[in-house]
Every structure is written in C-alpha cells, then in structure tokens.
C-alpha cells in the first residue's frame, strides 16, 4: 500500500467534506440546545407510503404543517418530516419524533389511524393530528382521545360537486374519471361521489371511470397510465376528465388538457399546483388539508386543541381562467347543489350498480 498517496487522498476527501459541511447553510438542529430553546413547539410530520411532494395528498399535508409553523412564527428547525417507505415502519417513525421530544406530530393517511392512536395513548403529553383518520375504536364506535384530533373530509361531497360540474359542462355527454387505488377509501369516495354527481345533473351522460389496477407502489404514481387512459377517453369522445389519485391522475389531467378536453383536479387547487393544465382546468374538488392542519397546529399552540373528529370543508376551487366559460346558470345550480349536500338532502355516497363498496362514507348529519 502506498501509504503516502492514500493519505493524500484521504485528507483531500476529508477536507472536501468538511468544506461542504462548513459552507452548508445550517438551518437545522445542528447545535441542538440553543435552537431548541427557541422552539415553543416542535412539529413532526410522518407521511404515508408515498412522497411528500406528490403534488396532492402528502404534499398538502406537509404544506399545512409548514403553514401552521409559519403562522406561529416558528423557525424552520422546529419542524421536520419522515417519509414512510414501508407500512411496517409507521410506528417506528412516529416514535422517532416522540423520542426526539416533538410536541405535535402530524400523521397523514387513513392507514396510520390505529397506529397513531396507539402511540398517542402511550404518550398522553404529545398532541397528534391524524389526517383522514376517523377516531373510532376497532368496532367503529366513536372513541375520541384527548390528544388526537382526526382531520377528516367528505370526499364524496367534493367528488359529487366535481361530477355535477362535469355533467353540466359536458357537450359530448361523455365524461371520464381517472382514479388511483380503488382500495383506498378516500379515492373510492371521490369516485362514487363523482359518478353520483354526474348522474344527478345529467342522467343521460355516459361516465367512464377507470382505476389503476396496480398495488400501492404503482396506483398513485403511474402518470403514464393516467395519460394513456385519458387518451382513450378522448378517443371515446369524452370532453371533461376528472382525475383523483396523485401522479396517476396528474398524467390524465395533462394529457386530457393537451387533447382539448376540460379537466377537474383533486385535493389541492390544481390550477396552482399543476401549471400545465391552467388553461383547461375547470375547478378542483378541494379538500382543504392545508388550512385544516394549519388551524389545528395553531390550536395546539394556544391551548384550544380538542381531541376527536373534525371535518374540514369540501368545496370546489375557483374556476380561474375558465370562469368566463362557465354559464351563470351552472354556477347557481352548483351553489344550490352544495347547499343541498351540506344539509344532507342529497346523499353523495349512494351506492349504484357495481359501485365501489370501499367508501366508508360518513353521512353529513
């Protein structure tokens, strides 16, 4: 071994890394103690299997955490995230935050519901916010804990409004929908609601709904599948395409848009998150996770935090660029439908032939 040359390399490499380390902006909890003192609240976020920046569900949750932290004026070293790679890790990931002394832990996704409750019962001093997690026990009876708030949404209402919009706006009387995993209840609620919404305003319209048939690692992330499916919708004459299901749906929206169809997005106002479709997106079936999470974080800070289920508003995003193309009659009709939905006069989740049974809808009233 040529020791000399080896040491030269070693020193050079070590120097490089130290240099990199020194240059690095240090926003993070490097010098732990004094920074920790500056955090009146430490917020941890555990994502579901899937990426934080999926431009949809997980991203909305994380954006909500950031918004809440900013509202409290927290330094960026006071909140952090763990992306879950394997559902077997849920508990380990949540516990990591507990062990690191975090006070508020946000977990996103219905699949983490029971684990979140379990860790919460072991750590009564820590507050938990569970997105899409109904606070029920194993027999589906309401069973709120003081330190867990479940932030839920009526996706069926959002889907119904999207469907009503599609049904009212279609000229060809063919509308399509591309959905992610059919075994995820929130997705199923969107689909069933969408179907019912179209039928409610336009019983003659033919509705083409397609789910991605793959497993969890594919069905939300296969944008090419979404794109190809949207293409086939267009071939069938569809002129409004709704997409609910992460990147799979995004692919469908962009392609449908490029092919001249109008599209409807999901979860966030996708006019803002998916710039490719800004000239053909009618609206989005919003599920305002960002505000919901942010509000709960603020509540955790000022002591008004309450355990149990809360329901965020389900609504449509603004029409943005297509506002002029939506007739006033349609707008008033949609407002009327929204009112009926909020009073429970319309059941957005009514099952129909071969409808997905996986919805687990909660009636409004």
């Amino acid at each position: 071994m040529h020791k000399k040359i080896f040491w030269k390399f070693f020193i050079a490499l070590a120097a490089t890394s130290i240099l990199l380390a020194a240059c690095a902006p240090a926003p993070s909890a490097g010098g732990a103690t004094e920074e920790e003192a500056g955090c009146k609240l430490k917020i941890g976020y555990v994502s579901d299997v899937g990426k934080i920046n999926d431009q949809s569900f997980n991203q909305a949750s994380w954006t909500g955490v950031q918004a809440g932290a900013e509202a409290l004026g927290l330094d960026s070293s006071c909140y952090s995230f763990i992306e879950t790679a394997d559902s077997a890790d849920y508990e380990t990931n949540i516990n990591s935050f507990v062990q690191e002394g975090y006070n508020v832990i946000v977990t996103s996704g219905f699949a983490m519901g029971q684990v979140t409750r379990k860790v919460a019962s072991e750590n009564p001093d820590v507050l938990f916010i569970g997105i899409d997690q109904q606070q029920v026990n194993e027999n589906f009876e309401p069973d709120p804990y003081d330190n867990v708030a479940g932030l839920n949404f009526h996706e069926d209402i959002g889907g119904f409004l999207a469907g009503a919009t599609a049904g009212l706006m279609t000229k060809s009387n063919v509308v399509g929908g591309v959905f992610g995993c059919q075994f995820i209840p929130a997705v199923a609620r969107y689909e069933v609601g969408y179907h019912n919404g179209v039928t409610y305003v336009n019983p003659d319209a033919s509705i083409i709904d397609v789910y991605h048939p793959g497993s969890i690692d594919q069905c939300f992330s296969d944008s090419a599948f979404g794109s190809e499916t949207a293409q086939s919708f267009i071939n069938e004459g569809a002129d409004v395409v709704y997409g609910a299901g992460g990147l799979t749906a995004n692919g469908a929206l962009i392609t449908a848009c490029n092919q001249g169809a109008m599209v409807i997005g999901t979860d966030m106002d996708q006019f803002l998150t998916l710039p490719e479709v800004k000239d053909c997106i009618l609206t989005s079936a919003m599920k305002d996770i960002v505000t919901g999470v942010s509000d709960l974080i603020v509540a955790a800070s000022d002591g008004t935090f309450q355990g149990g289920d809360t329901y965020g508003p389900s609504m449509l995003a603004p029409f943005h660029n297509l506002d002029s193309q939506v007739p006033d009659g349609v707008k008033t009709q949609l407002i009327d439908i929204a009112n009926k939905l909020s009073t429970g006069e319309i059941d957005p989740c009514a099952p129909f032939q071969d409808s997905n049974p996986n919805t687990f809808c909660i009636p409004v009233k």
């Binding site: 040359i5 080896f6 490089t16 699949a111 690692d217 049974p357």
Partner: protein, 382 residues
C-alpha cells in the same frame, strides 16, 4: 465476469490449504470500507446541494442506525428480510438463474403465513413451524412455476419472474382490497386479520420488538452456506450455474436442478415474507407492506458477492441505512432519496473496486474464484 466484492471467494470457502491466503483476504477488507467512504463523500455533494449539512446528516444516519438500543433493534429488524431474501436471490444466481421475482414470492409467502396463521388454533410449537413452512412452500411453489417453465419450455426466467411478480402482487392486492376474501371485516384499511398469537414469533427481549426472526435469518444463512458448499445438491446447483454443458456432461439432471434452485430461492423469499408477518406488529398483511424488499435484495445479494457471509454484511449495511434514514430526515432534513443514491454508489464502488484500488493504491490480490451471475441469460443455455 469477476465478482470481487467482499473478496470472499471460492478459494476461501474451499478447505484452506494455503494459510497465507487468509492474510491477503484480511487486507482486502479495506476495499469495501474505502468504497463506502468514497460513496459517502460523493453523496455528501448531493446533501450539500439540498441545503443540508452532510456531516450532520451522516451523524444522524449513524445515530438512527446504531445510536441506541432502540435504533440497533430497528436496524436488525430491517436486516432480517433483506438477509433472507438476499440469500434467495444469491442462491438463484449460484444456479445461474436471475430471480427478479423475489418481490412477488415474498408477497406470496406473507399471504400464506396470514392464511395459516389465522386459519386454525394450535399450540405455539406447532403453529409457528407450520406457518413458517407455509410461507416457504408457497414461495417455493410460486417460484417453481418459473423454474418449470424454464426447464420445460426454455422460457427465460427473467421474463417469467417479472410476470409472476405482477400477477402475485395484483392478486394479493385484490385479495385484501374492497372485494377481497382476505379483507379484515370492519376495517377501513385494506388489511388482513392479525394472525393468532400462537403463530407469532416470540420477542427475544420482551417489549423490545426484536423477534426470533433474526435467529431464523442467521440459521438460514448458515444452512444456505452448508447447502451450497457442503452438499452434493450444492455442487450440482453451482455446476449448473457455472457451466451447463459441463453439468450435463457430468450427468447432472439439469432440468430438475433448475426447478429445485428456483424453488429453494423462492422458498427463502417466501420465508422472508412469512417472518415479516409473524414478527412485526400488528402481525397482518396490509397495503404498502414489504414494498421494495424484493428489489433491494438483488442489490444486497450482489453486494454480498452472492456468498452467505457477504450477504450477512451487506444486508446489515442496507438495513442500517434504511433504519438510519428516519433520523437523517428528522434531524438533518435530508430527503430519503439520498439513501437510494448512497446505496447505488456503494454498490458501484464496491463492485468496480479497481476504481477504489487505484484511488487508494490498494494492491489487487491474486487468484480468486469467479462467479457468473448471468450464466443462463444468453445462448449458453443450450
């Protein structure tokens, strides 16, 4: 076709005649160490670009993997499936077969364990072995399909295992999904029932999550070592893997060996899946469970020089990185993709050890056994 990864080679495994060899092997342990070091330095560039501090990130990574007892246990838990499935991939490679289907076989093993583990009540000393065997046999059967198709029709196992992967994963997704027969009643989550307590692997330290799966994994490593290098079947598998013509000429039943190799490989994958279900709370199968172990185990197997001892080390390395990733994200806010990049770089530098050798001026050793990972791929089948 040189595989000089941990430099654990045929010559070392064979009864050692020249004692001097052991020394030269020891000095070669430096190569992977330097390879990992180099990979860390290169990856630190990416961490730096993301606005985080590389040293802080690596300290968090190390703390998350080995920092305290809990982290250490997480590392070991992560190592278990990688070790068992990695052995499966390696066994197939030894037999000249490329089993890309480990992911699917692992799923099949998990589901079989769920079916048997929830199917009946039995005393623990019966239920655990039976559940394990169910995982092994179902994985073996599933993989044997690819082996049979290869032996009978010459259907390339790379295609058939990719296809059977998708088939297995999608049927299982269906079986726990909205319409599925294995779906736990009254659950929002697509998941199966938890297996009965009599089928759960006992915890080694009560309350510390570490389950007996680690012993099973170590035992599997030992058995595979013995199988490969101490039994006639092992010799047959390796002969078929090294040279099909020679194997035929030597009177080995090549077709039978191919099916058997695939079955053994799939059996290990199935065992990995069963152990995951039987060892980890809440002891059931759910969507998002086990995703990616099948493909990681390929990297683990080749990094481990497709030798049981090497795989022991490489699975520990990968397990540690998977475990440490939590704290690396939490403390240093480094995206989890860095782990993937790091794993790729380590694999590259360990495999292309000439780069490392020339970088650090480590002398190359003389004479090592060669292992061909891809014997069956091309025309040499006939």
């Amino acid at each position: 076709m040189r595989l000089e990864v941990f430099r654990i080679t045929e010559s070392e495994i064979a009864p050692r005649t020249a004692t001097g060899k052991a020394v030269s092997h020891l000095s070669n342990l430096g190569v992977p160490v330097f390879a990992i070091f180099t990979a860390l330095v290169v990856a630190s560039l990416a961490i730096f670009l993301s606005g985080s501090n590389p040293i802080e990130a690596y300290l968090a990574l190390a703390a998350g993997a080995f920092g305290d007892l809990d982290s250490l246990i997480t590392t070991m838990i992560k190592t278990i499936p990688l070790l068992i499935a990695g052995l499966g991939v390696a066994l197939a490679f030894r037999g000249g077969l490329f089993n890309i289907g480990v992911e699917g076989q692992l799923f099949v093993g998990s589901i079989a364990a769920v079916i048997v583990g929830t199917g009946f009540h039995a005393p623990i000393y019966i239920h655990i072995p039976v559940t394990l065997l169910a995982g092994i046999f179902s994985g073996a059967l599933w993989a044997a399909i690819a082996g049979f198709l290869k032996a009978k029709y010459g259907a390339n196992e790379v295609i058939t295992t990719i296809m059977t992967n998708y088939i297995a994963i999608r049927i299982i997704t269906w079986s726990i999904g909205a319409y599925g027969p294995l779906r736990k009643a009254a659950s929002v989550v697509p998941e199966t029932n938890s297996i009965f307590e009599s089928a759960r692997l006992p915890e080694l330290i009560p309350g510390a999550r570490l389950h007996a799966g680690i012993l099973i994994a170590l035992l599997a490593a030992l058995l595979i070592f013995l199988l490969l290098f101490r039994t006639t079947l092992g010799i047959e598998i390796r002969t078929v893997g090294m040279n099909l013509h020679a194997a035929r000429y030597a009177g080995i039943n090549v077709n039978r060996t191919i099916v058997l190799t695939m079955a053994l490989s799939g059996g290990l994958a199935g065992l990995a899946g069963a152990v995951q279900v039987m060892g980890l709370s809440p002891y059931n199968f759910t969507t998002g469970f086990n995703v990616g172990y099948g493909f990681d185990s390929i990297a683990v197997a080749v990094l481990g020089s497709i030798h049981p001892l090497g795989i022991l080390l490489s699975s520990l390395l990968f397990g540690a990185m998977d475990a440490g990733a939590r704290l690396m994200q939490l403390r240093a806010r480094v995206p989890i993709e860095i782990i993937t990049i790091l794993q790729g770089l380590i694999l590259m530098f360990v495999a292309a050890n000439q780069i490392i050798r020339s970088l650090y001026h480590i002398r190359a050793p003389k004479g090592q056994g060669e292992v061909n990972l891809t014997q069956s791929w091309g025309g040499s089948t006939d």
